[in-house]
Each structure stands twice: as structure tokens, then as C-alpha cells.
């Protein structure tokens, strides 16, 4: 059986978990700085007051003046999601995360361990914890498992037998299908509003009218979708962060902070000579929200210049001044055998001696004894904002 564990509105639940004072209040996710002013997920209290996700901010506030807005926190969401995935992995599930708040896993291996399918699903819910309001659906196909998880009440599991899958899917709305809103509207105008209605149409006609997306949706509702799970490899990551004494927005400061982070991460002993293939850059924004970008390198590298170059374009996308910058290296791989140097570059011996000296000073005085002066705003009229001291690790 394939199981799907779903936590609706995870992008809102994660920041709310850190703000218990908002429990039970009408709350919605604020738009990202610089993006269209549309609100994101909202709580049940907001929903009862008439607020809907995707509403314009002004309309939402007019509908519910008591509405509280929570800043989007993609880095916090990613962190909370990673913690939940690790808990599931520790409970024995090999997980394939689809997006924050939705994960698939195969139950077969754990069924034997837990003593049955239902016990295995309960084990998954217990691993996640009650506070997230998770629900699980299980079926022989991924789509049916996702549909079951959507229908199941919070904290419960719903198992769909193979023979009843089409009966179960029939009355459900089209929202579950991976279709664009325009396609869904098109179907609705044609009188197709339920999955069962789509399943009864001839496949060729659906493909002709809606193209490849429609054909895929048609296969899903007929129970012909994917029946496999590709578990992830639990990531081995190392991370470093740098917090600023005051919010920083200028490119030069950010580039220098990034260079310091790259330098520190490459100096970490647990990297053990391995090079990262994946990088994730995140920042805490001045308004209380956060920002995150990930990138995968064509080939793993531990060259600071190449890492900085790869990350610089992401840094330019920062939407607001930041108070903390964080860099994670993921998928660390062994050296890929680059050409060794025939002649040592000039000054390398001196640098090595300096490094040994700094290491001894650090051992004698403390970890933060050795710092680099980083000029962050040399043009500033306020002397104490012109440069900062960044602890060094090398």
C-alpha cells in the first residue's frame, strides 16, 4: 500500500506553531514583500469569518477586520518540515516528500514491524505528533492515497481498498487533480465538476480537448496513476548562519557575508574533504518573515569562488533587508578527482603557517577569538556601521 500523509495549510501552521497566542484567532498568511497582495492559507476561524486563500489583502481585511496576518516564513517552514520528515524516518518510514505538508511512503516494510496496516499508519501519525493535525490516506495508487488523506479527519487514517477506489474517487471535486485553474474552469463550464464525471468521458476526447494535462488527469481518476514511491536519501547537511547587528540590504555587505559563510562551511571538519552538490541559502527578513532559495550544482565543488558565483544570483533575489543569512551544504559527495597541482601557488606556505597560528590562538583564547574585519558600508557617516567583525573558522 502507498500512504500519503497530509498536513493542510502547513505553510501557515509552521509559523503559528511558534506563536501560540494566535491559537483560535482568525489568521492568514501575509503576501510576500514585492509580490501581488494576495493572502495565503488561513485558519478555520478566518475561514468562518469569510476569508478565503487567494483573496486580495484589502478585501480580506474588509471582510474580517480582526484578521491577524502572519509573515511568510519559507525557511522556518522548510526547517519544521525537515524535522517532521526525520521523525517519520526515525519511525522506520522511507519517505518521498512531495511538498511541505504532503509526503508519500510505502507501508509494506513497517506493516510487519507494527503488526498491520492500520497500526503502521497510526505509528506514522504518532511520529508526526497531534499538534500538526496530520491525516493519512492509504491506497494502492498515489492519487487515491492523496485523495483519501484529503478526506480523512485530522489525526485519523483512511484506507481505500483497490476495488472501491473508483467509487471513493467518483464524488470528489476536481481540485485534487494536477490541473491549472483555467483547465478546471474549462471542465466546469463543460459540466464536469466531479472526478467520476471526468472518468466516464472517453480518453481520446479528453486528450483532444485538454491535451497532455487532461490525459494525465483522466488516467489518475481511472485509477491508472503511479503506484510507486521513490524514497529520498536522508540528507547529510552542514549549515552556518551569520546574524547582523542591524538589517542589511546592500549587495556588497550581503556578498561579503556570503563569502564569510562559504569560507566557514568549507572549513568545517565534518565536510571531510567532500564537495556539496546542493546549496540552500536562506535569510530572516526584517519584518519577521523569511526567504529561501535552493540550487543544485551541475557538478559538486568545494571551490569557494565557484560556490560564491553560483549563490550570487540567488542573493540578488532577496526581497527585503535581512537580519540573518544562512547557508546549507547538502548532498556531500567524495572528491571527483580533479587534476593535482604540480607547483604550489605563491604564498601557500605562508597561508598555511598563518592558519596554524590562528588555530593555536583560537585554542588558547576561545572560538571567537579570531575574526575578520568585513567592510559592510564604508561610505556610511556613522562610524560603527562601516565594518563588522566576523568570526573565522579556518
Amino acid at each position: 500500500m502507498i500512504a500519503c500523509l497530509s498536513i493542510p495549510g502547513f505553510s501557515l501552521r509552521a509559523p503559528l506553531a511558534r506563536r501560540p497566542e494566535l491559537k483560535g484567532k482568525p489568521v492568514a498568511l501575509a503576501p510576500m514583500p514585492g509580490a501581488r497582495p494576495l493572502i495565503g492559507s488561513c485558519t478555520r476561524a478566518a475561514d468562518e469569518a469569510g476569508v478565503r486563500p487567494g483573496m486580495r489583502l484589502s478585501e480580506a481585511l474588509a471582510t474580517c477586520p480582526r484578521l491577524e496576518l502572519v509573515e511568510q516564513d519559507p525557511a522556518g517552514v522548510e526547517e519544521a518540515w525537515e524535522a517532521l520528515l526525520r521523525r517519520l524516518e526515525q519511525a522506520g518510514f522511507a519517505v518521498e516528500p512531495a511538498q511541505p505538508g504532503c509526503v508519500y511512503f510505502e507501508t509494506r516494510g513497517v506493516e510487519r514491524l507494527a503488526g498491520g496496516l492500520e497500526q503502521a499508519l497510526r505509528r506514522a501519525l504518532e511520529a508526526v505528533g497531534e499538534e500538526w493535525g496530520a491525516r493519512v490516506g492509504a491506497a494502492s495508487r498515489r492519487f487515491a492515497a492523496l485523495a483519501a488523506a484529503t478526506v480523512a479527519p485530522a489525526g485519523r487514517a483512511l484506507v481505500i481498498d483497490d476495488g472501491e477506489a473508483h467509487l471513493f474517487l467518483e464524488p470528489l471535486p476536481l481540485d485534487l487533480l494536477p490541473l491549472s485553474p483555467e483547465r478546471r474552469e474549462e471542465l466546469s463550464e463543460l459540466g464536469v465538476k466531479r472526478l467520476g464525471e471526468l472518468a466516464r468521458l472517453p480518453g481520446a476526447a479528453v486528450t483532444d480537448r485538454l491535451g497532455a494535462d487532461g490525459a494525465e488527469a483522466w488516467q489518475l481518476v481511472r485509477g491508472e496513476g503511479d503506484a510507486s514511491v521513490e524514497p529520498r536519501r536522508p540528507p547529510a547537511e552542514i549549515a552556518e548562519s551569520l546574524s547582523f547587528p542591524e538589517p542589511v540590504a546592500n549587495e556588497l555587505t550581503l556578498a561579503r557575508a556570503l563569502a564569510a559563510l562559504v569560507e566557514r562551511l568549507l572549513a568545517r571538519p565534518e565536510r571531510d574533504g567532500r564537495a556539496p552538490r546542493q546549496l540552500a541559502l536562506s535569510a530572516k527578513l526584517v519584518g519577521g518573515g523569511s526567504w529561501r532559495r535552493s540550487l543544485t550544482l551541475r557538478e559538486p565543488t568545494a571551490e569557494p569562488d565557484r560556490l560564491r558565483l553560483a549563490l550570487a544570483s540567488k542573493l540578488a533575489e532577496l526581497p527585503a533587508p535581512t537580519t540573518e543569512l544562512r547557508l546549507e551544504l547538502g548532498e556531500l559527495t567524495e572528491s571527483v578527482g580533479t587534476q593535482a597541482e604540480l607547483v604550489r601557488p605563491r604564498g601557500s606556505r605562508l597561508r598555511e603557517r598563518l592558519r596554524v597560528g590562528l588555530r593555536q590562538a583560537r585554542a588558547a583564547v576561545g572560538l571567537e577569538a579570531v575574526c575578520t574585519v568585513v567592510e559592510v558600508a564604508p561610505w556610511s557617516r556613522i562610524p560603527e556601521t562601516r565594518a563588522i567583525l566576523v568570526p573565522r573558522d579556518d
Binding site: 549549515a239 548562519s241 547587528p245 557575508a257 567583525l389
Partner: protein
């Protein structure tokens, strides 16, 4: 064992360089005549810094570069909001 990315042990703060340090300044008509109990021999330069007036923490300072009787050159400023005096390398 690889540290978890959430490990707070690897989050370190950058520190400001050249933070203002409180100074004991005696002045006449707003101009320093002694800094930390050493008389001022000569007033070399004077300037104002008004910055960040658009934030909740505006900066309003009156800087003086003075030569002390001991021969040392120091820079002091008066924070106009608090009325306190500080030393700082300008």
C-alpha cells in the same frame, strides 16, 4: 555524525567594529574643554551627523576632533537625543 542543520551551535553573530565608548567630557558653550580629565589644547574640527531620520532610531550627533594637552588626537561626539558624550575613531 553530521550536525543537524538546525544546530544552533553554528550560528554566530557578527559584531560591530568601532562602537562608541562613553567619555567624560567637560564643555563650555557646547565645545569640549577636557576629555577624560585631560584638557583640550586645540579644537581641530567640528561636524554634525544627522542620519536615519526616517527610522525609529534616528542618529543626531555633533562630532569634535580635538588635540589633548598630552598630544593625543581624539574624536568625541555628543548624542543630541540623550545628551551623553562618547569617544569614537572617526
Amino acid at each position: 555524525m553530521v550536525a543537524h542543520p538546525g544546530d544552533p551551535g553554528h550560528s554566530r553573530s557578527a559584531r560591530r567594529l568601532n562602537e562608541p565608548r562613553p567619555a567624560l567630557v567637560v564643555c563650555e558653550e557646547g565645545v569640549p574643554t577636557a576629555v577624560d580629565r585631560v584638557r583640550v589644547a586645540e579644537l581641530r574640527e567640528e561636524w554634525r551627523v544627522d542620519d536615519r531620520w526616517w527610522t525609529e532610531e534616528p542618529v543626531e550627533r555633533r562630532y569634535f576632533e580635538v588635540l589633548l594637552e598630552t598630544g593625543r588626537n581624539v574624536v568625541v561626539f555628543r548624542d543630541e537625543a540623550s545628551g551623553k558624550w562618547f569617544r569614537q575613531s572617526a
